[in-house]
C-alpha cells in the first residue's frame, strides 16, 4: 500500500513536466448584461451563535457581481478536448461552514477527489448535497466532530444545502477535468498550462446556466475568451 503510493507520486513527478510543455493559457472575463436580482439580506435571527459573528449583515450569494458588470463565482472549465488525466489530485478540497455560511459558496473539484467538510460553528449543521447523478447523502455534523470526508464519482453540479439553516446554499462543481477555475470578484479567470489543441470552454453560473465557446490553441499563446450572461431581475 505504502509502496504503491510512493511509486505513484514518483510517477506523477515524471509525468507532470510533460503537461507543462503546453504552456498556453486561456484567460478572460465573465460579465452580465441587464439587471440582476438584488442580493437579499439574510435573516439569521434563529441562530444567535452565528448571527453575532457578522457585524455587517450578509447577503445571498447566488449571483455575486462586481464593478463593471463583472460576475464572480462562475465555474469556467474545459468541457471537451482536455487531455485525459489518470487520477484525481491527492489533496482534499475543504468546504467550511462558518458563521452559518458556506466558505466558499461554490467549490470546484475533480471526480474522485476528496472533499473535506469542516464545521467551525458551535451549532449542528447538516450537509445535504442534492445530487441526481451521484449518490445523494444528508448527514448532520455536530460541533466538535471530525471533518466529513466524501467523494463524488461522476461529473455534476450539485446544489448543497443545510436544512437546519435554510439560507445556507452552495454548489459542488464536480468535474472530470483538472482544468477549471472560478471567476474572481472582478469576473476574471485564467486556465493555464494547456497544450496546443482544440477545446470547448464552458462557463457555468448557478442561476444563469451554462455557456460554451470553442477555442483552438496553437503553441505557447494566451487566448482571451469572454463570457456574457443575461441577468434576470427576479
Amino acid at each position: 500500500m505504502f509502496k504503491t503510493r510512493w511509486f505513484a507520486s514518483l510517477l506523477s513527478l515524471v509525468v507532470s513536466p510533460g503537461l507543462l510543455f503546453g504552456a498556453a493559457t486561456i484567460s478572460g472575463k465573465v460579465t452580465y448584461t441587464g439587471t440582476p436580482a438584488k442580493s437579499k439580506t439574510i435573516d439569521m435571527s434563529k441562530e444567535p451563535s452565528c448571527a453575532k459573528q457578522h457585524t455587517t449583515p450578509i447577503t445571498t450569494e447566488a449571483v455575486v457581481t462586481g464593478p463593471n458588470n463583472s460576475l464572480a463565482n462562475v465555474v469556467v472549465y474545459i468541457s471537451a478536448g482536455a487531455p485525459d488525466e489518470s487520477s484525481a489530485p491527492s489533496q482534499a478540497v475543504t468546504f467550511t461552514q462558518k458563521g452559518c455560511q458556506y466558505i466558499p459558496h461554490v467549490i470546484a473539484l475533480r471526480t474522485g477527489q476528496e472533499l473535506k467538510v469542516v464545521n467551525d460553528d458551535q451549532t449542528s449543521h447538516n450537509i445535504h448535497p442534492m445530487a441526481k447523478v451521484n449518490r445523494e447523502w444528508n448527514k448532520s455534523q455536530p460541533p466538535g466532530t471530525p471533518p466529513l470526508s466524501e467523494k463524488f464519482d461522476k461529473e455534476e453540479f450539485i446544489p448543497v444545502k443545510c436544512n437546519v439553516h435554510p439560507w445556507m446554499h452552495g454548489y459542488f462543481a464536480v468535474l472530470k477535468t483538472s482544468h477549471y477555475t472560478l471567476s474572481g470578484e472582478d469576473g476574471s479567470f485564467k486556465l493555464p498550462d494547456l497544450p496546443a489543441g482544440k477545446y470547448t470552454i464552458t462557463a457555468w453560473q448557478e442561476d444563469y446556466g451554462t455557456q460554451t465557446q470553442d477555442v483552438t490553441i496553437s503553441g505557447n499563446e494566451t487566448k482571451t475568451v469572454d463570457f456574457t450572461f443575461k441577468a434576470k431581475p427576479y
Binding site: 437579499k40 434563529k46 450569494e61 439553516h165 439560507w167 448557478e206 442561476d207
Partner: protein, 274 residues
C-alpha cells in the same frame, strides 16, 4: 417489609409534591412552572391548570396515603387475624367514585371548556393584523403583506432558498407579492390582535410559544390559523413541537413583541432589506 413499603410510598408522595408546591427543583433556582402569561386568553388556561393541579394533586396524595396506610396496617398479620370488609363494601365505593369523579369531571370537563372556546371558537377580529407563518425543515419564516395589504400567491415550484425566496413568491408576474416582507423573526405590536395564517412547506410542524399559551400544528395541505393578543413587550422563543426530522430540536424563531412605534420602524427597516 410492608411497613417499609408504606414509608417509602409516603416519602415519594411528599417528595413528588415539593416541586409542584415550591415551583422549583429542590432547593435550586430552576423554575418548574409555566412562565408569566403574556396573552389575553392565557389566564383562563392557567386557572384551569391550577384547578386541575389541586384536584389531581389531592387525589394523588390521598390515594398514595391510603395505600400506604392499609399496607402498613394489614400486611403480615397472623394467619388467624380476622378478615374484615371495608365498611359499605363495593357498592359505596362505586357510588363514591361516581360522585367524586363525576363532579370533578363536570367542573373541569364541561365548565372548563370555556378556556378552549376563547382560543378556538371565536374568530379573529376583522381588524387583526394578518401575518403568515411558514414552517419548513427546519426554520420558521414570516410574511407581512406590505404596503398594499395583500399577500402574493404561493407558487411551490418557485421556492428558491438560495435566493431567499422561502415562500415561493413570483414577483416577476405577481404584483401583490413584490412588496411582501419576509422575515426570520416574528415581530408583532403589543396589545393588537394577531391573526397568524399557518402554512406548512414540507412536513408537519408546530408553533409553540409558552408565554402566549399557544400551540398549534402546521399541517401540510391544511390552511390553519390562530389568533392571539400579546400584552407584554419582550423577546420570546417560538419552538417547533412536532417531530419534523433531524433538525427538529433546533427549529425555532424569536417572537419580538414591540410597541406600535417600534413595530412600525422595524417593519420599515425590514421592507428596505427585501
Amino acid at each position: 417489609m410492608g411497613k417499609v413499603f408504606a414509608v417509602i410510598v409516603v416519602l415519594i408522595a411528599f417528595a413528588s409534591a415539593v416541586p409542584i408546591i415550591t415551583h422549583h427543583w429542590f432547593g435550586t433556582a430552576i423554575e418548574l412552572r409555566p412562565p408569566e402569561d403574556i396573552s389575553t386568553h392565557g389566564h383562563a388556561i392557567d386557572e384551569q391548570l391550577s384547578e386541575t393541579m389541586v384536584e389531581a394533586g389531592l387525589s394523588f396524595l390521598a390515594a398514595q396515603f391510603v395505600l400506604a396506610f392499609f399496607v402498613w396496617k394489614f400486611s403480615n398479620r397472623s394467619a388467624n387475624a380476622e378478615i374484615k370488609t371495608f365498611p359499605g363494601g363495593a357498592k359505596w365505593l362505586v357510588i363514591a367514585a361516581l360522585a367524586l369523579v363525576g363532579t370533578e369531571m363536570l367542573a373541569l370537563g364541561v365548565l372548563g371548556q370555556r378556556a378552549w372556546a376563547t382560543v378556538y371558537f371565536t374568530p379573529a377580529k376583522p381588524d387583526a393584523l394578518q401575518v403568515q407563518a411558514q414552517a419548513g425543515q427546519f426554520a420558521f419564516y414570516f410574511r407581512y403583506p406590505g404596503a398594499d395589504g395583500k399577500f402574493g400567491d404561493l407558487h411551490p415550484d418557485k421556492i428558491d432558498e438560495g435566493n431567499s425566496n422561502f415562500f415561493g413568491l413570483d414577483p416577476a408576474n405577481d404584483v401583490d407579492s413584490r412588496d411582501d416582507i419576509v422575515t426570520g423573526e416574528l415581530a408583532i405590536p403589543a396589545n393588537r390582535e394577531i391573526h397568524l395564517l399557518m402554512h406548512a412547506k414540507d412536513v408537519g410542524h408546530s408553533f409553540y410559544v409558552r408565554e402566549l399559551r399557544i400551540q398549534q400544528d402546521f399541517v401540510p395541505g391544511l390552511d390553519l390559523s390562530v389568533h392571539f393578543t400579546a400584552t407584554k413587550v419582550g423577546k420570546y422563543e417560538i419552538v417547533c413541537t412536532q417531530l419534523c426530522g433531524l433538525g427538529h430540536y433546533n427549529m425555532k424563531a424569536y417572537l419580538n413583541v414591540l410597541s406600535q412605534e417600534d413595530f412600525d420602524s422595524w417593519l420599515k427597516q425590514k421592507a428596505s432589506e427585501q
